[in-house]
C-alpha cells in the first residue's frame, strides 16, 4: 500500500504539488495523467525519495519516505523505470541488472545472474547480456531498464514517462512488455502521455492539474462522457492528446 497524504512540494517559491492525497492498493495499476508542469513526475520522484517532501507524508508499506532509516526499505520495494533509461553506461547489460540485487538485496552473483538472464530472455534480449548500453537501441535500453527494475522483485513498479524518449516503433515494443506485466499482478504506477496505453492497462486514472488531483476515477468512468470528460480541463487535455 502506498499512501500519499497532503503532499506538498515547493522548489523555492514555485509550488509544484499543493496537497495531493492518493492511496494505491497492492495489485492496482494506476496511471497518472496531466499536462506538463502538473507535478506528475515530481510526485513520482517524491515516492522513492529522490525529491524531499516540503509538507505531508508518503507511507509505503508502513515505511515513511521522509525518515532516512525507512527510505532504504521504501527503495527496496519501489523500483523505477526512467524516461531517459539512465542505465549505467560503464556496465554491461547483465551487470546493470545485477548491481542493485547484489549490493542491496545481498543476492549472490550466481543467483542475481540467473534471475537477470531469465528477465532478459523474457524481453527477448538474452543475447545482449554482455553488450554495453551504448550498443543498444532506445527501445532495447528501456527494456533493460524494465529488467533492472524487476530484478529487485519490487512490490511497486514506478514508470516515469518510460516511452517519452522513444519513437513510435520502439514505444510499441516497450508498451507490449508493460501490458504483459500489468496482467501479472504487480502494482504499477505510471506517469504517461500514452492515453491509449493508460486506457488499456489501468484500473484507475488519476488526473493531476497544477499540483492537485483533479480527478481520481476508475478507468471506465474517467473516459466516459459523464465521468472524467465532463470536466472541461480533462476533455481539453484528452482531445489535445488525440483522444476524443
Amino acid at each position: 500500500m502506498i499512501e500519499i497524504q497532503n503532499l506538498h512540494k515547493d522548489f523555492g517559491d514555485l509550488k509544484v504539488l499543493k496537497g495531493v492525497d492518493l492511496s494505491i492498493k497492492p495489485g492496482e495499476v494506476v496511471s497518472i495523467l496531466g499536462g506538463s508542469g502538473s507535478g506528475k513526475s515530481t510526485m513520482m520522484r517524491c515516492i522513492n525519495g529522490l525529491e524531499s517532501i516540503t509538507k505531508g507524508k508518503i507511507i509505503v508499506d508502513d515505511f515513511d519516505v521522509s525518515k532516512s532509516n525507512d527510505l532504504r526499505e521504501v527503495r527496496k520495494r519501489c523500483s523505477t523505470v526512467f524516461q531517459q533509461f539512465d542505465l549505467y553506461p560503464h556496465l554491461r547489460v547483465i551487470d546493470n541488472i545485477t548491481l542493485a540485487p547484489i549490493a542491496v538485496l545481498g543476492q549472490s552473483k550466481e543467483e542475481a545472474n540467473d534471475k537477470a538472464m531469465e528477465l532478459l530472455n523474457s524481453v527477448a534480449l538474452g543475447d545482449r547480456a554482455s553488450a554495453y548500453p551504448s550498443q543498444l537501441s532506445g527501445g532495447q535500453k528501456q527494456r533493460i531498464g524494465i529488467c533492472r527494475a524487476l530484478a529487485m522483485n519490487p512490490s511497486y513498479l514506478l514508470l516515469d514517462e518510460v516511452t517519452s524518449s522513444l519513437d513510435p516503433e520502439m514505444t510499441a515494443e516497450v508498451l507490449d512488455i508493460l501490458k504483459i506485466l500489468s496482467k501479472q499482478g504487480i502494482t504499477m504506477i505510471s506517469v504517461t502521455h500514452e492515453i491509449e496505453f493508460a486506457r488499456e492497462i489501468s484500473d484507475r486514472i488519476v488526473f493531476l492539474d497544477e499540483g492537485r488531483i483533479l480527478k481520481d476515477l476508475p478507468k471506465d468512468d474517467f473516459f466516459s462522457e459523464s465521468g472524467g470528460k465532463s470536466d472541461p480541463r480533462i476533455a481539453r487535455f484528452l482531445s489535445k492528446m488525440g483522444n476524443v
Binding site: 542493485a100 549490493a103 542491496v104
Partner: protein, 220 residues
C-alpha cells in the same frame, strides 16, 4: 667534440639516478592519487565544512611554487622538529602538492556525470559508498584518466626539482656528472633520454588504462 662514449663509465650513476626518479615518481603518483580521491570526494560532498576544507587545500597547493613547498618541508620543517629524509620529503611533498591537481581533475569528471544515472542508483537503494564505488568513480575516471595522465607526467618532470634538496635523482646525478666531466652536452642528452623513457612508459600505461575504462563507449 660531441662524444657519447665519454659517458660510458657514468652509465651506472645515471641508472642509479633514474631508479631514484622512478621510485619517487611511483610512490608520489600513488600518494597523490589517494589524496586526490579523498579531496575530490570532499569537494563534491554536501557537507559545507568538508567542501570548505578541501577548497582551501586545493587553492593553497595549486598556488604555491613547488620549489617553495619543497624548501619549506626540507629546510623549514626541521626547525620545528620534523625531520624526514630527502627521499620521503620529496614523495610526501609531491603527493600533497599534486594531490590538489588530481582532486580537481577527478572533480571535473564527477560533476560531469549525468545526474539521472546517479539518481537511478539511489532509487534502487544503493548506499552512498556503493554509489561512489560502483557508479560515480568508475564513470568519472573514464573521462578523467587522460587529464590525469598529464598531471602525472608533470609530476615526473617535477621530481627534477628534488635535486634542490640533495636528492640525487636523475637531474641531481646529472649535475654531478656534468661538473666532474665538464661535458654538459653529453650529460644532458642522456638526461633527456631518461626522462623521455619514463614519461613514454607512463603515457603508454595511461593509454592502456584509458582504452580499458572506455571500452564501453567505443572510444579508443
Amino acid at each position: 667534440m660531441f662524444d657519447l662514449s665519454s659517458m660510458t663509465e657514468y652509465v651506472p650513476a645515471f641508472v642509479e639516478g633514474f631508479i631514484v626518479t622512478a621510485q619517487v615518481s611511483i610512490v608520489s603518483i600513488i600518494g597523490s592519487f589517494l589524496i586526490g580521491v579523498i579531496v575530490a570526494l570532499m569537494r563534491v560532498s554536501t557537507n559545507k565544512a568538508l567542501q570548505f576544507i578541501s577548497l582551501c587545500y586545493v587553492d593553497l597547493f595549486r598556488n604555491i611554487p613547488f620549489i617553495v613547498l619543497i624548501f619549506f618541508s626540507f629546510y623549514g620543517l626541521p626547525e620545528i622538529g620534523v625531520y624526514i629524509d630527502a627521499f620521503w620529503t620529496g614523495c610526501l611533498t609531491l603527493s600533497v602538492a599534486v594531490g590538489a591537481y588530481v582532486a580537481e581533475t577527478l572533480r571535473a569528471g564527477i560533476i560531469n556525470i549525468d545526474k539521472g544515472i546517479i539518481e537511478a542508483s539511489k532509487s534502487f537503494g544503493l548506499s552512498k559508498f556503493r554509489i561512489y564505488q560502483k557508479v560515480i568513480m568508475p564513470i568519472a575516471l573514464t573521462t578523467s584518466v587522460r587529464p590525469l595522465g598529464s598531471v602525472f607526467i608533470n609530476l615526473i618532470l617535477t621530481t627534477s626539482i628534488l635535486s634542490a634538496i640533495t636528492l640525487n635523482e636523475l637531474t641531481g646525478a646529472s649535475k654531478i656528472i656534468a661538473s666532474t666531466t665538464f661535458r654538459p652536452f653529453e650529460v644532458y642528452v642522456f638526461l633527456v633520454i631518461f626522462y623521455g623513457i619514463l614519461t613514454f612508459i607512463l603515457s603508454g600505461i595511461i593509454a592502456v588504462w584509458h582504452r580499458h575504462l572506455n571500452k564501453y563507449n567505443g572510444v579508443a
